[in-house]
Symmetry: C2
Subunit: 174 residues, 2 copies
């Protein structure tokens, strides 16, 4: 599947609603448990996604369009949400994510990116040269894999209650 | 996390809305592609979930409550949706899944299952003895892991467009 701005926005703009439908008003046992030390709970994932909206995806898009390869991206702090989410309810985080994602997709649409824009390059601190197309495709994949992570983390909470069934679910050992 | 009927219904009853939010009105490139031969597209997954509602979860619950170990479960045909979904749009399947899931959770609630009921046993054709608690916990996990599967399948469609980024996403090699 070739990258297309419109098809990527189709996914990016629905992610907040997907998370709201999946997580709103669930018992804390579903949303606050994780997969072990230094792993994310569903609550943590929403904070992580907010941090990405604030500091990563649009910031890196701007760097590529304004500075190209001359200004490397700032590395993403993957645990920033431990501080930034403090004292906030999951419901507040879901609202915050929806608001900032809506703004960011509106901004992205306003750029009316051309194929030439998508070919422009930036410098990732670890991966080296990447194109704007790579960055925007990865933004979509990042959303999708974090939805997968949330449902996997939730599923694992019931692993002990499944009797012999976990052997049919290889995802539980991921 | 201990199995509780109420916490499991919280998840089961929202799955149709999660799938609708995730998949409605998406381009076919997102919903009709799969991970290779004999794997499911998001469209296939919805058909698979419908087949489970019709033939598996509630049917097995009935067998446990009425016959216990004396009547083994009927094996699940994992590819039944190849025939059953034929000619149906994704939108039709999403509606069908929502209707049958709503009925099934209402039926499940009407049973007012006790802990003694949850301890009752049935005979799985491959796994041997399982309890009703095992079956119902597995139903929830089955939903969650298929949502994870859908988002993973979607994510993989962009793998080639991500440049060097796939190495940060181990889920893409799952």
């Amino acid at each position: 599947m070739k990258y297309s701005p419109e098809k990527s926005y189709q996914v990016l703009e629905r992610t907040p609603a997907v998370l709201r439908t999946l997580l709103s008003d669930l018992d804390d046992d579903w949303t606050m448990n994780n997969e072990g030390p230094d792993t994310f709970s569903p609550y943590d994932v929403v904070g992580h996604l907010i941090h990405g909206e604030k500091t990563d995806w649009t910031a890196r898009t701007r760097i590529i369009l304004e500075f190209g390869l001359s200004k490397p991206f700032v590395p993403w702090d993957r645990f920033a949400q431990n501080e930034e989410s403090k004292g906030k309810t999951l419901s507040q985080l879901l609202n915050e994510f929806e608001a900032i994602r809506t703004d960011n997709v509106a901004w992205l649409r306003s750029l009316k990116l051309s194929e030439a824009d998508l070919d422009k390059k930036g410098m990732h601190p670890k991966l080296g040269e990447v194109t704007l197309r790579n960055l925007l495709a990865t933004w979509v994949v990042h959303d999708l894999t974090h939805i997968a992570q949330i449902t996997r983390v939730m599923a694992k909470q019931y692993k002990e209650e499944m009797g012999p069934w976990p052997e049919f679910f290889r995802i539980l050992n991921f």
